[in-house]
């Protein structure tokens, strides 16, 4: 009995000691994060030793000359690492950022901005108006969320019309012409035109061109409560999509692996034309195809195909200890000279006003087509609610493509799901 008592008392004593040490630390703890130590005293804070940049894979070539120039000009070392842009930069920043091993500057597609800001992973930047004036308006809009600027655009992309010059003399002006051509050309494993319209990214062009929209744009603010994906225009667009699948597209390009299948067919010279983004050019040329590029043909209603525009931007990590210098760096990376060099090396099209009419871009068929198509394009919504749109829309489009459901019904259901998802996962702000 006594034994038990003494063991208990000693345990209790220990517990007491521990309890004492817990709250104790509230005051002694602020060693965990030294984010707020850099204070600006008129002008720039002291120069850091180095800045770290994450660049997309295979794009480092374009960064190298720019950072070399930056190092020379400012005497700050810049290191870069290639990290896949679509998901890995975000996912790794989530982990590496708080761990203190993250970069100062990252690059992500602009549609992730809302999410990154909500999670507190990137920070607002302030740059001079003179810098802002160099970029196209739509690209800056894409980098803005809730009225604040979160990055500078480095490249824009939007799907365009790509054709095999051996199989098609020149790009058709209208989708009707393309339809006629395709009717005659498609036979066996030859296809006149292919597009991944079961993927909302590509289908949006048709749907929006016919009058649909994702979120109502009220002077720059997107309203996640007003969804226009089952209005009359959207239904007409989806019916048009269904027609192509019914009459001309093979089933094998539907679904998860459709993209690679389509690329494969095109690269083997079995497809006369496709709708695809500028990222596909190089692979096609590598495969020995002589490609021509043009803006998308106009829709039967006379409207342009309102493709989604994606803006890839440079952003300052919220974990950066030198946000001012990081901002300086991205200003430098996106200035006219470096943007031009980037275009020469990677063929990424910079949304820099002075370059759009530069002979370098104007004489490049692909770049010009993208630049022209961009004028009709709509920036992808960058609010976090957009995450709820892709899945249900893909479902609806797939059902339509497979001829399983009527467009109207599929879209109604998709919009219903999107709305429920938004209500559940994004409590109104």
């Amino acid at each position: 009995m006594k034994k038990a008592v003494s063991i208990f008392s000693s345990l209790a004593l220990m517990a007491g000691v521990l309890a004492g040490c817990g709250p104790d630390k509230d005051t002694t703890e602020p060693k965990t994060n030294e984010k707020n130590t850099t204070t600006t005293e008129n002008g720039m804070p002291p120069k850091p030793e180095k800045l770290v940049v994450w660049e997309d894979v295979k794009r480092g070539v374009a960064l190298e000359p720019a950072i070399k120039a930056f190092e020379q000009k400012y005497g700050i070392k810049v290191e870069y690492k290639e990290v896949e842009m679509a998901t890995k930069q975000r996912d790794q920043l989530r982990l590496d950022g708080p761990a203190g091993t993250g970069p100062d500057v990252i690059t992500v597609p602009h549609d992730q901005i809302g999410q990154l800001v909500t999670e507190g992973l990137i920070r607002e930047i302030t740059v001079d108006q003179s810098v802002l004036d160099t970029f196209t308006e739509s690209s800056l809009k894409a980098e803005t969320y809730n009225g604040k600027l979160y990055g500078l655009p480095k490249a824009v992309e939007t799907p365009v019309f790509i054709y095999n010059k051996k199989l098609m003399d020149k790009a058709p002006a209208t989708m009707d012409e393309l339809y006629q051509f395709s009717k005659e050309f498609t036979k066996g494993d030859k296809y006149g035109f292919l597009a991944l319209w079961d993927n909302f990214y590509f289908a949006h062009g048709i749907i929006a061109g016919m009058g649909g929209y994702v979120f109502k744009d009220n002077n720059g603010t997107l309203d996640p409560k007003d969804i226009g994906l089952n209005n009359d225009g959207a239904v007409q667009g989806t019916e048009y999509i269904q027609k192509w699948y019914k009459e001309l597209f093979p089933k094998g390009i539907i679904g998860e692996n459709g993209g690679s299948t389509m690329d494969g067919l095109f690269n083997e010279g079995k497809v006369a034309s496709v709708m695809n983004g500028p990222w596909a050019f190089q692979g096609m040329r590598d495969a020995g195809i002589d490609i021509g590029v043009a803006p998308m043909p106009t829709l039967p209603n006379g409207e342009h195909v309102k493709t989604f525009m994606g803006v890839k931007g440079w952003h300052v990590s919220a974990f950066s200890k030198n946000p001012e210098w990081a901002t300086k760096l991205i200003e430098f990376l996106t200035n006219e000279e470096n943007a031009k060099k980037r275009f020469e090396l990677t063929r990424e099209i910079p949304p820099v006003k002075s370059l759009i009419n530069d002979p370098l871009i104007a004489n490049d068929e692909g770049a010009k087509a993208v630049a022209v198509q961009s004028q009709y394009a709509v920036p992808m919504p960058n609010i976090p609610e957009m995450a709820e749109v892709w899945g249900p829309m893909a479902t609806a489009l797939q059902l339509v493509a497979n001829q399983k459901t009527e467009p109207k019904k599929a879209l109604d259901e998709a919009v219903k799901t999107i709305k429920t998802n938004i209500e559940t996962n994004h409590p109104s702000k």
């Binding site: 982990l95 690679s260 690269n267």
Partner: protein, 280 residues
């Protein structure tokens, strides 16, 4: 006469089934080999017997200036080998204790081992990441190896314990009477008899890292530290412009050594697994 005819029918049917299965098994495998020699990049253009066979994809993989494949291969071999060695040691120790000693917590331990292998834990990747961070094992092969070894313990301990249970206890008892210590009994009597199951476990733990691309991609950050699975998965996971035929070539080169290993271990395999399986 009738008996003989019956036998004939039975054997013919059996061979027919075996032939059918062989085709089903070998066809996809041959097809992978075939497409790895196809010129294009895509799946759709691939043929089992290519018109213009090429070793270009293999060349590409082995060209160190263009691809990190060889580095990944070396990484994978290193990680797999070390995982195998550590796992075999730890599993043998644990399984031996569970099989031969009756100690407090034994039964609960065994049940825990059983339960642990059933819980899906990829929601916990972030936890493993932070653990790696605290121990400075992020982006190191050691960290990854430790995770693999830890993960291999429950299932393999069960297998091995089952096998050890079939080795008569009289053996260790007589050795003990002769004055052999714990370690001696373990190393000189039990382990040699457990060769088949050790072979099986070595094989399992060697192969497991080759198939994992989830843990490895969370823990490894630099490209030059990737394993084959991570690197190869990247080749096909790209939604646009994936390189299927190169992937096929890469896969053939992974599957080859593993298959050879498997087949050379086969005789242990049947005896090792069975005893473990039947009792465990």
């Amino acid at each position: 006469m009738n008996m003989k005819r019956q036998k004939m029918i039975r054997l013919t049917l059996s061979y027919a089934v075996i032939l059918a299965m062989t085709i089903i098994i070998v066809y996809p495998l041959l097809w992978v080999v075939g497409s790895s020699f196809n010129p294009g990049q895509s799946l759709s253009g691939s043929k089992m017997i290519p018109d213009h066979a090429t070793v270009a994809h293999y060349k590409e993989l082995f060209d160190t200036s263009k691809s990190d494949y060889l580095i990944w291969y070396a990484n994978s071999l290193k990680i797999s080998t070390l995982t195998m060695i550590f796992s075999v040691i730890l599993v043998s120790l644990t399984a031996y204790s569970f099989s031969r000693y009756r100690f407090v917590g034994r039964q609960n331990g065994l049940i825990t081992f059983l339960v642990l292998q059933m819980i899906p834990n990829f929601a916990a990747l972030i936890a493993i990441y932070v653990l790696g961070l605290l121990t400075k094992l992020i982006d190191t092969h050691l960290g990854l190896i430790l995770v693999y070894v830890g993960g291999a313990i429950p299932m393999n301990t069960w297998l091995m314990k089952g096998y050890l249970d079939t080795i008569p206890k009289e053996l260790d008892e007589s050795a003990r009477i002769d004055g052999a210590g714990h370690l001696r009994i373990f190393f000189q009597i039990i382990m040699p008899l457990a060769k088949p199951i050790i072979a099986v476990i070595a094989l399992f733990t060697f192969i497991a890292p080759f198939g994992d691309f989830i843990l490895a991609s969370v823990l490894l950050r630099s490209k030059e530290k990737f394993t084959l699975a991570v690197g190869l998965y990247d080749l096909v996971a790209k939604q646009f412009g994936n390189e299927f035929t190169t992937f096929a070539a890469g896969s053939v080169l992974i599957a080859l050594p593993i298959a050879v290993l498997f087949l050379s271990f086969q005789k242990y395999f049947v005896s090792g697994l069975t005893a473990g399986g039947t009792k465990g």
